[in-house]
Structures are given as structure tokens and as C-alpha cells.
Subunit: 195 residues, 2 copies
DNA sequence: GTTAAAATTGAACAAATGTTCAAAGCGTGT
DNA sequence: ACACGCTTTGAACATTTGTTCAATTTTAAC
């Protein structure tokens, strides 16, 4: 009846995400994108609508990966707090050369864009909230396990963790000489912040 | 002998800085800039060389403002630690509507640009270092005053402060609902981090 | 008043931008 | 074989991009 799609949407999204992540929204041109994802303009616009549309889906794809990583950390560890700590370490020390950028794509988006791209800005904020809520859920779970003091506020701890991740990743981006030993810093943060 | 300059370089730089700060390097066009600083292309290029050149001077202008603000905090307070705390508070809660962006322009630069603009990236990193060194100097001064434990490492404290500033400002950018009470957070950071 | 030097103008440029659309390709049901 | 309908193509479009430069304006010294 119809021609079968040539492209695997997930595969295309991964490539687009990586490029956007590396070069930013304004720093990435459609021509640039066309080469990387190997699609012609017509196909791109038929599939994603616009540059903004593709970026939005890229943000979502990125956040899904992040959530998947968090659940992977949950399954690889024996306790919620250990999972959170592991997540933070893989986030921060993991991307030496593999990831397109040292920084979080959601943070880069929130940093770069203005009200001229209100929808994308909004979506990035929403996804950051989602991550924070996932952190909070794990902190609450830690309380249920008896791993964490019941008097603590999971939401406040999650917010604290977000601030620390944002701060650390940004700092490392600005000081990419490998002199700073991050793992020890993270251990200290968990001691100071949670206990 | 020659025509007198029509433009006050400092005034122009302030306007350019604010625009770049708000919209980013790639998000700002020369036409955009021309309107805001009220100069024609020829004059701009004769004075600043290129879009990159003007951005570089804007970065420097921005950092100078920051340093001036820090010394102002020093003069307005009675101790180095009080100065640092005041600086942090004016940085973070001060820019409700006045500043072009919630975030630090140096951080935005480091977040947005890639090796394609290596010189600008490098300059932003250098200026961030400068600020950090200024923090460290104040921590050392606090030790001389007997305000801070001599066993602490001023450089490590300065780095800690940078991470916290970057984290907090980014977080507030992503959560601009005024729900988070920042002043209390900063007080807590100083208690946890320095003592 | 003339001249020389510097600053400013703005039209113009080539290249790059995001996007469109008519044509062609291709798989499926008849 | 045929035709229907979805997918893909890539040339082309109107703007916008960063930048240049010959012409003009303005100043001050002689």
C-alpha cells in the first residue's frame, strides 16, 4: 500500500540528540543535521515538523535515556542511596570522551534559550523537574528502608542533589583539566548533605 | 586633525554585553547588535574587528563588573567571609528582573560554545578562574583575620563556592517560580561548607 | 580656506539559514 | 499488471547571516 519507512526513528533521534547536545540549538544548522542523520529536508520536515520539533523530541529522548540510567543504577545497587550516588558518579565522571558534552543537555537548553523558544524552554524545565521527582522518590524509598532519617524532606534533598549535579558538571566543563578528583567530592557531598 | 569618536566605548560595551548575555553568542545577530548599540557595521568592525572580537571584549567587561562588585562587597562589610556571603546573595537573589539573564554570562558562554570558538571558550574559562582566585584570596584573608580555621584550604573553599554558585544560579534559572527561598540556602551552605 | 587624517555610513556581497513542494520511488492490495 | 498511497528526494525559495569597502562626514592644524 505504501512505501516502508527507511529510517529507524529511535536511531535518528539518537544521532540528532548527540549533535544538538554538542552544538546547542542555535549552533546546529539543518544542513548540519541532514548530514549527521542522513535524511533529506523533506523527510525531516515530514517526520518532525520543524527544527524546533526535532529538538523537542531530542530533549525527550535525552531525558528518557537519563531515566533509564537511573533505573539501571537502582537495579545495579542494593539500596536507594547507593543508587543515587552511583547515578551521580556515572553522570559526572563517566563522560570523559564518550558524551557529546560534559554538561547536561537539559541544563544547556535552559541556559541557551530564551522566551523566543518558549516551548522548548518549558519542555526542558519540565524534564528537569521529572528527574528531580525521580530523585525524591528514591530518597523517600530510602526512608522506607530505614536507610535515611525520616525527619528529612525528600523533596529538599532532591533539590539539593540537583543543585550539586548542576554545579559540579558546570564546574568540570569550565575546568576540564583532570586535576579535580570528583569521586571524593561526591562522597563528601553525600556526607554533608544527607546526614 | 581627525574626526572625534561619536561612541563611548564603555557605554557601547555595556549594551553589547547585555544583549549577548541575554541571547547568547549564536542567538545574537550583528543586525540585532547594530540596533541595540546604534552603530553601523563599518564602525563596529573598525572598532572591534568581528562578532567574536566584540563578544570577547564583552566577556571582559562583564568580568570586570563582577570583580568590581566583589570589591564593593568587601568595602561594604566588616569581614572577608561576610563579603563573600554578601557577594553570593547579591549575585543570586539580586537579579530578579534587572539582569539580562539569571545565569552568569561566563557560565553561559562555557555552556554554549565549542571548540569552533576556542578563543572565546578559553577566555571565559580564564575569567572564571580569575573570579575563583579572588574568592580564594578572600578566604586566605579570612584566615589572617582569625575568622577562618587555618587548616582549611582557601583554594578548595573557593572551588566549593564556585560549584555552589553555578549550581544555585542554574537551578533558579530552571525553576523561576519564586518558591525557593535562596537566602536561607546560602546561609546553610556557608555553615556546612566552611565550618 | 585648504588639506590631511580619522571616524562613520550604508549599500552591497557571498554564503548560510530554515523551509517548501512538485516530482520520483516503492511497497502493497487488487 | 495496475493503481493507490505513503515516503523520500533535492532543487529552489525568501531571509538572514557576518562582513567589506568606497564614499562621505567631521575634526583640527596650517
Amino acid at each position: 500500500m505504501s512505501k516502508t519507512m527507511r529510517y529507524d526513528r529511535q536511531d535518528v533521534l539518537k544521532k540528532a540528540t548527540d549533535l544538538y547536545w554538542q552544538k546547542g540549538f542555535h549552533g546546529t544548522s539543518m544542513r548540519n543535521l541532514q548530514d549527521v542523520i542522513d535524511m533529506r529536508p523533506g523527510s525531516i520536515y515530514a517526520t518532525f515538523g520543524s527544527k524546533e520539533g526535532l529538538y523537542k523530541e531530542s530533549l525527550q529522548h535525552y531525558a528518557e535515556q537519563g531515566m533509564a540510567r537511573l533505573t539501571a543504577c537502582s537495579e545495579a545497587t542494593s539500596s536507594p542511596l547507593a543508587a543515587l550516588k552511583m547515578f551521580m558518579k556515572t553522570l559526572i565522571s563517566g563522560n570523559c570522551a564518550a558524551a557529546p558534552s560534559d554538561m547536561c543537555m537539559l541544563v544547556k537548553t535552559v541556559s541557551e534559550l530564551t522566551e523566543e523558544n518558549a516551548e522548548l524552554l518549558c519542555e526542558a524545565k519540565r524534564l528537569l523537574h521529572m528527574m528531580e521527582n525521580a530523585f525524591a522518590a528514591l530518597f523517600a524509598q530510602a526512608q522506607s528502608c530505614g536507610e535515611l532519617d525520616e525527619a528529612k524532606d525528600p523533596a529538599a534533598l532532591a533539590r539539593y542533589m540537583q543543585v550539586q549535579i548542576m554545579g559540579l558538571r558546570t564546574y568540570l566543563r569550565a575546568n576540564n583539566d583532570g586535576k579535580v578528583k570528583v569521586d571524593k567530592l561526591i562522597d563528601e557531598l553525600f556526607e554533608k548533605g544527607l546526614v
